[in-house]
Amino acid sequence: MEYAFEGRAKRTTFILMGIGLLSIILGFFGGDHAGNRVWTSIFISGFFFFGVGLTGTFFLALQYAAESGWPTVLKRIFEGVAAYLPIGAITLLVVFAVASAHLMDFHLYHWMDHDLYDPASPKYDEIIAHKEPYLNLPFWWIRTLAYLGLYVWFTMLFRKRSLMEDGVIEDPKRYYNKNKTLAAIFLVIFGYTSVTASWDWVMSIDTHWFSTIFGWYIFSGMWISGLVMMTLLVIYLRSKGLMEFVNESHMHDMGKWVFAISFLWTYLFFCQFMLYWYSDIPEEVMYFQARINDYSWLFWGTFLINFIFPMLLLMSKDAKRNPGFLVFVGVIIFFGHWMDVFMIITPGVMKDHGTIGLVEIGTFLGFLGLFLHVVLNALSKRSLLAKGHPMLEESLHHHIN
């Protein structure tokens, strides 16, 4: 049951991190807009993997609040993914600090330009000036620190109590019930903050534009990426012969989650697009215009890839139980959702200069290496089976058709 993080796996994560570091350093010598491009690509990958880690905590809380028994054998995987959250929070903080100080030619948030709020300045922007009570630097930083602090704090609390469960044999339900209360509180907080955080961190890049469904759209993208990552980790550990207690029914259920949340994401993507397309009001469609005019392949490509692959390939029961299918679809849509984050963030920062080149791919690989290093390291610290969980027996005998 114990996973040892060493040898080839450890070397691979270091190589990936090396590639990432190299492409970031070389990226700064990339001529015009080099600093902006490199920092944007750090923000894209940093935010994407932060979302994957956050899904770990969210999904864990969801299982506690729903009192679901089946995923108990997978619980350590959810916790392992969530272990990336503190590192992910630090990366975001570094990016935000650089963006706030406008260092290295990095202008992530248009509204952070003070002249926009000054009526005497030629750059004065009435629409943005009206948003000042919400979009101003001190309040934005307070919110950011609050979100990150809350997420990391809840993650650590879940982990601590989950490990306590392991030690206590007589009364494991006590910690379980405590975690259940915690999960309910977390889900309420997460429900609000995931929406406002996506406004603050992502939507405010395109400062003039707003969308009420945006928070869910970002959240569903995170959720599906996180689910794919968890499924792939389980398949990897099973292939090592370490998670024999995970049976086909558990894989089938994870496959169903990937299938279902892919549809949720597609639904929200299309909802957001269709309403703006239909009404065709200039101040509303500029977000789509920036993407469809300059990034049309990326815009429609992400939508179709992330919709069609899971829909057609994961529809049947046999496919959901087949690790080969899950890995194939999983790898494609994992990268597909990274491209989605790229498509959301880049046009607002880089205008039409954005490309998916060596810098972006390299940074993605670097963050993948960092993520896997932290997560696999966390998984190797404890037994892969949550022994003290009161619903363990139910989960071990999980059987569905």
Binding site: F270, F273, M274, Y278, D280, S316, H399
Partner: protein, 174 residues
């Protein structure tokens, strides 16, 4: 002579154990009647996986095509509709407006087609004659059906002896 012998049980676990012991004596079970799905029974009886999902997919595909053809005819060909002043020479130009109705129609047809197929396949459409051997199999009893023709090598008494050992409430013929 009647076609089949039936054993009636008042508990699903007794019935599952009974089915296992009947099969171990090389007697073939034709069917089992139960008021609710019994977990794991399909594996014991060796029932093949349903193809209902495939029919649902085909119904959905048909509906998708029908909806798009219909919308193209109504909104583009027969009477071109002005949707927000957008060009409407081809279907794809107004496609986003047609997606919700296409989606709804696909779901409608897949769901209804699947439900009707299920009822026809089980011969349980409204008005059809009930085929369960005992009325209580729709309430709280479970019934194992053993077809005489399938077990031609066994005498009546042998089958009855095996059934009796599985603690049924009642054994009857029909």
């Amino acid at each position: 002579m009647s076609k089949a012998i039936y054993a009636l049980y008042n508990d699903d676990e007794v019935m599952v154990d009974g089915a296992k012991s009947i099969l171990s004596k090389n007697i073939r079970i034709k069917d089992v009647y139960s008021p609710f799905p019994v977990h794991g029974l399909e594996n014991i009886l060796g029932i093949k996986w349903t193809r209902l999902a495939i029919t649902a997919f085909l119904y959905g595909l048909t509906a998708l095509a029908l909806a798009l053809i219909g919308l193209w005819f109504f909104m583009i060909k027969d009477w071109p509709m002005n949707i927000g002043g957008k060009p409407n020479n081809f279907l794809y130009q107004n496609l986003p407006a047609f997606i919700p109705i296409t989606f709804e129609f696909t779901v409608l047809c897949a769901a209804h087609g699947m439900a009707i197929t299920y009822l026809i396949r089980n011969r349980t459409l409204p008005g059809m004659k009930a085929r369960n051997p005992h009325p209580r199999t729709t309430d709280d009893h479970f019934c194992i059906e053993i077809d005489r023709a399938e077990n031609a090598g066994m005498s009546d008494d042998e089958i009855r002896t095996v059934l009796q050992e599985t603690n049924p409430v009642e054994i009857f013929e029909k």
